[in-house]
Symmetry: C2
Subunit: 381 residues, 2 copies
């Protein structure tokens, strides 16, 4: 087991109606004025926006607004938010939405405390030394962005989808009310499930050292996600399934699963980001395409863990059955499993590989994932 | 799934040689003068004391010392520490040891900021509103006290073993270096294993609502503890087993396993505290005596979870086999499983039940656990 530091100071307020207390949580943290960040109009239609504003008003928290965040959130929108924050003496950023909204809020929180271009942090040109505090009210569970310090955004000029990470970006308080997630479409539920499974298996398969305890936690998350996704596709209003899904998703990328592992990385995310960037595919959909292809390409490099996966998740001794059954399960829940399922032409592979190779370099993975290797993987998809 | 708040701001510094940085961790937290709390002389014999002092000196951290903390730590010793802290303008408490030392440090941290008798907090006469920051360097893993806000101590006058809990008592930084635990006796390793299993199963069996995800995490902890204990009894120097044991133990009582459950309580701990209090039995040893007896008495009240336990841990469909095999395993690793194994005479049951019933009242469990019921359980032991 490797040395590690585990530190996750995010307070999770989990459960029914917790969003009504958001003003109190902000007040307890001495916040005077927030920038409220959200996506399309759905929070206005379903009444969540009003509840949030009510709670802010009751607690005398002033606010400005930034709406219109899209999935694969855009740097241009984030710069708009940074300007708003700087002009209005904002003291915290409140994200109301899913991972894209939270990642935008985090990026704004960093940019608001920086004189230069916020993109500097994404290309490792600058190091994060301070940020506004971030708060969240989640309407979708998948990215665990509610309990980590990561943000992934898209530079709409350069078509690069890059990330930042700092414990300064861990939300101070995150509200996870599973009821708010009941209206998510079946399609997005499936993509979310794939995303959580992706977070769980990246380090599980790629680490050189992966303690049994960590493997067990990962398997607990995957089993819970698969079980609850099937329940929710039948009955979207099953509160307990929604709640277990949400909490398992949070545990999937909050620092717990990789603690003590050695040498793990995120190749599926690396490749997928190019699918999102070039074809605007939903992140979870892109992952469902990449993962089975990557698994087929990679399995020989960690055969014992692939055998373990097959055994623990699908009760089979054959590592190929494990891959096959996961692919079938992605298909069953309605996620695309080939490039053509995701409307990506075979001719696109070259430019996808080129784009992904750029990320590979930024993430320090280019020694393993050359352009040729990425082409080889994508051809299996 | 129930509503819950999850908040655990303790930073864990895990791994080899991390104790050498303790002075830096204190300095980063702006600590000028610590009270160093430890137990018998073992930290002096094995060189740990010197490493700590070196690190404090290098970082210009002044210190006072309180040594001689015993297992089932005593209020009288804690009062000594509180006086030292008040007289010397101590700004943090540094525990170097196992659960008893950490629990003493936490109690001192509370008492140092209070004008009255620190015992007030243990009998719910006063509420914890402030405390000195606590830091730890662990030499034994079991209680998870390194990553929670709980402390259990013993009033040596009244023979009551009571507890406090507050997030203010969560250590700011805890160092867990598994190497420091390699010299623990086989006996204490066994008791530690029992203690972790106890933490894991209390809420697992007693909660009215226990989500599958939580069950899976608990089972992951139990499997890891059983597997690594067996390795360590054979080879105490197996670093990876020691590390997995330590980290699983920390997860066993840091707030993760009960999050979202409903109505769980700690009957085995409640009864065991009386064994410790009246017969000075090691906590883990007392638990090994109480748990199988309690399981036999309780199983009908949550038969499906007992069946699940038998299936997941011992691969059996019979809940009785699950209990029997756990009892056998306690016996195999060298823990006592009957009162007579622990040198407690049958005649002691009456006074044990009386003592435990007092705790039952303080913990609000007296509606279920009357004196008669406690006698009934202890007679099965």
């Amino acid at each position: 087991m490797n040395n590690f530091t585990y530190y996750n100071p995010t307070k999770i307020e989990f459960g029914k109606e917790k969003e009504k207390n958001i003003g109190e949580y902000l007040k307890q943290a001495d916040v005077k004025k927030v920038l409220l960040v959200y996506g399309g109009g759905s929070v206005k239609k379903n009444g969540l926006y009003e509840k949030i504003i009510d709670s802010l008003n009751k607690n005398n928290i002033e606010f400005e607004e930034l709406s219109g965040v899209v999935s694969n959130p855009l740097l241009s929108k984030i710069n708009e938010g940074i300007n708003l924050a700087k002009e209005n003496k904002i003291s915290a950023v409140l994200a109301v939405g899913g991972g894209s909204v939270v990642d935008s809020a985090k990026s704004i929180a960093v940019g608001a405390k920086y004189d230069g271009d916020v993109w500097d942090f994404f290309i490792n040109k600058s190091q994060i030394m301070e940020a506004l505090p971030v708060f969240t009210v989640m309407t979708l569970s998948a990215t665990a962005s509610e309990m980590n310090g990561n943000a992934v955004i898209m530079n709409d000029e350069t078509k690069q989808k890059y990330s930042i990470a700092s414990v300064l970006l861990n939300p101070v308080v995150s509200v996870i009310n599973p009821e708010l997630m009941a209206t998510v479409s079946k399609e997005y539920l499936a993509y979310s499930a794939v995303d959580v499974i992706a977070h769980s298996i990246e380090v599980y398969f790629t680490a050189k050292v992966h303690p049994h305890f960590n493997s067990r936690i990962v398997e607990s998350i995957i089993k819970t996600i698969m079980e609850t996704t099937e329940v929710l596709l039948e009955n979207p209003n099953d509160y307990n399934a929604r709640a277990e899904f949400a909490w398992a998703a949070t545990q999937g990328l909050n620092g717990l699963t990789p603690a003590g592992t050695e040498g793990g990385n995120f190749p599926n995310h690396m490749i997928e980001h190019s699918l999102s960037a070039l074809y605007n595919v939903a992140h979870g959909a892109g992952l469902a395409v990449v993962i089975p292809a990557w698994m087929k390409w990679y399995k020989e490099q960690n055969i014992s863990q692939f055998k373990r996966f097959a055994r623990e998740i699908f009760n089979s001794d054959d590592e190929n059955v494990g891959i096959e059954k996961l692919e079938q399960w992605f298909n069953k829940i309605g996620a695309p499993i080939t490039l053509s399922d995701a409307n990506i032409p075979k001719e696109g592979i070259g430019s996808l590989a080129e784009n992904a190779y750029e990320t590979s370099k930024v993430w320090g993975m280019d020694k393993i994932y050359s352009k040729e290797i990425i082409v080889e993987i994508l051809e299996k998809a």
